[in-house]
Amino acid sequence: MLLEIKDLHAKVEGKEILKGINLNINKGEVHAIMGPNGSGKSTLAQALAGREEYEITKGKVIYNGKNLLELSPEDRAREGLFLAFQYPIEIPGVSNTNLLKTAMNEIRKYRGEEELDAMEFLTLLKEKMKVVELDQSLISRAVNEGFSGGEKKKNEIFQMAVLEPKLSILDETDSGLDIDALRVVANGVNKLKSDENAIIVVTHYQRLLNYIVPDFVHVLYKGKIVKSGGKELALELEDKGYDWLKVDNVQVAG
């Protein structure tokens, strides 16, 4: 098993947001996590990536045989976890290339591998740019600075392509995308999908799941997974909305 979340509770600014999440993910699987606004989807994504403001109060997370919660955010990334941000951060003064080169080399150093030389690195960038049809001019520009919404999301998937994570968490990658950009981003993700990695797609809408087809769909509500199913669950949600799940005595799925 690649990821095992057991009874995860998390607080943000003193307020409990995650109230006992259970989730198992194997290599080769795509899981969609859906839910209404404020259900805790992004909190789960950020907590898994190691954001310090998210205090884990209970539960455990085993990732690739390791206790994930004991790892620093950078070590989680070095162990192959990747979060595509819902709101990618603009970092003026740091070029995309510089970020990726530093990231690559920090990850390789951690894994006891040699640093890439400049040529190898550039070749790799060029190859990966194709995955998301990223405009070449964007890679020498400051990270996300002045990027359009679509470019920012493409850039996240581009970074994912370069870093080749084992577990990717896409946090509302579809938000703010027009239909063309959505297709490009989704195609990129599909190209990166393999039997050796797994993807968690956090989304509010079913739309993205037409392109990235999940093996499992989970519905998060009030900090708990209240229903799990196959890809047809997403369609059902699209059809009926979330209201039919918002009954307090709903059976908690495991």
Binding site: E52, P73, F85, I91, G93
Partner: protein
């Protein structure tokens, strides 16, 4: 050591010794200015925190010192001067050691027609009329004590004059190297730059030291830009960490002239930079950029004053500071928009990052606007490194140290990137990187 009851008395006494060493030069025309300056110095008091212009800059460590005149003879065998000169720079180079010009170490061969580069000492000796016409006319040495002191002891520096329409083909680079050998010496580097109509010049000033001695640099640069002249000024200040660096720049701008200043400051125990620019006519521009990195008990102070005395002029100011430990930063940006200075555009910004709880910045915009059709803006930010950005970098596998290094670099980069001379820009990058790396890894 303290045979004088206060620093002022010691300077006055130094002046007597100084005059005695001058021999024939004491009859030079310029010496009259020196004597006038020392007279004013004697009447002025060193500022304290009750003086608004020095409110946050405590000079008491300076007042405790007693400085002496540098030895006349400098044994050049003891240092390798070339290692202090920016590598491979293509420039007209003037090297000054302990404030004194060394032509042997300089490179002033085949100077382009239209530009005259001379040492101030040479000009003083020869009663150079052109020098006397300008020197000391733009600095208020009658009312500012450090200016009076600097002017009284002025012996050397660069006098650069550019003929009308001359586009100078390469930068003029002035290296002020202090070789104090643990003697508390005082030097007064003095520069005068007169740029004729439609002329263009890039000038680089670098202040370095061979060791960690305590000494005092009290420098003044007067720049005169005639109509349509363009001057790009770059200063790199990496004095000894025990040095006192007092610097004043007076810029006088005629119609449609364009002045740019870049300051990269990492050295000295106490550094004070006064930058004044005055628009005498319409259509001019002044751009002041600066980056300072300070730590331990360093103090950096920049006081700028842009005098929009006439209409249709633009000024753009941006200073950035990175402060650690117990360091103190002071930014005071004064912009005066006079009554007739309509259509003025004045922009000012000061951004600071404090890396420790004990570091402190006093930042003060000071806009005095007497015209009604103007655009003026100012802003100041004080903060720590952006946590969101840090988390983003970490989430890509970049560790705590490397993240800090990247973000500090990013913060510094926009100011440094404006330096147009690549060799200087790269050097500035290099010393900043070195400082940031030691900082981050040392913490």
């Amino acid at each position: 050591m303290n045979k004088y009851k206060n620093i002022k008395e010691s300077f006055l006494n130094n002046f007597k010794d100084f005059e005695n060493q001058l021999n024939g030069e004491s009859k030079s025309d310029f010496h009259k200015i020196r004597k006038d300056a020392i007279k004013h110095f004697a009447e002025l008091d060193f500022p304290n925190n009750k003086n608004e212009e020095w409110r946050y800059t405590n000079i008491s460590p300076f007042l405790k010192q007693r400085f002496s005149l540098p030895e006349n003879h400098i044994n050049l065998d003891q240092i390798n001067v070339s290692k202090y000169i920016l590598k491979d720079i293509d420039a007209y180079i003037m090297v000054f050691i302990n404030g004194k010009f060394f032509s042997k170490l300089s490179q002033l061969n085949n100077v382009q027609n239209g530009i005259k580069i001379k040492s101030i000492s040479h000009c003083i000796k020869n009663n150079d009329n052109n020098l006397l016409k300008y020197l000391g006319k733009y600095v208020d040495y009658k009312n500012d004590i450090f200016s009076s002191l600097s002017t009284a002891f002025t012996t050397d520096g660069a006098f650069i004059s550019i003929a009308d329409n001359c586009i100078v083909d390469k930068p003029v680079y002035l290296l002020y190297l202090t070789l104090a050998n643990n003697v508390e010496i005082q030097t007064q580097p003095r520069n005068l730059i007169v740029a004729g109509k439609n002329s263009q010049l890039t000038i680089i000033e670098q202040f370095s030291s061979t060791d960690n001695s305590t000494y005092f640099t009290n420098t003044i640069t007067e720049l005169i830009l005639q109509e349509n002249a363009v001057i790009d000024h770059i200063k790199v200040q990496e004095e000894s960490r025990n040095a006192f660096h007092i610097a004043r720049m007076e810029v006088d701008q005629e119609r449609s002239s364009n002045f740019t200043s870049h300051l990269v400051s990492i050295g000295a125990k106490l550094s004070r930079n006064d930058l004044n620019s005055k628009f005498n006519d319409e259509g001019s521009e002044a751009m002041l950029n600066g980056l300072f990195l300070i730590e331990d008990d360093q103090l950096f102070d920049v006081h700028s004053f842009i005098d929009h005395a006439n209409a249709n002029c633009n000024s753009h100011e941006h200073y950035k500071g990175i402060m650690d430990d117990n360091s103190r930063g002071v930014f005071n940006g004064k912009i005066m928009v006079r009554k007739d200075a309509q259509k003025t555009n004045a922009f000012q910004e000061n951004n600071n990052i404090l890396l420790s709880e004990n570091a402190l910045i006093n930042t003060k915009p000071q806009l005095e606007i007497f015209a009604d059709d103007v655009k003026c803006s100012h802003g100041a930010t004080i903060g720590q490194l952006d946590n969101d950005a840090k988390f983003y970098l970490k989430s890509r596998g970049i560790g705590e140290e490397a993240s800090k290094v990247i973000l500090l670099h990013a913060f510094a980069s926009d100011v440094v990137n404006l330096i147009k001379v690549d060799k200087v820009k790269n050097y500035a990058e290099e010393i900043i990187t070195k400082r940031i790396n030691t900082r981050v890894k040392g913490n």
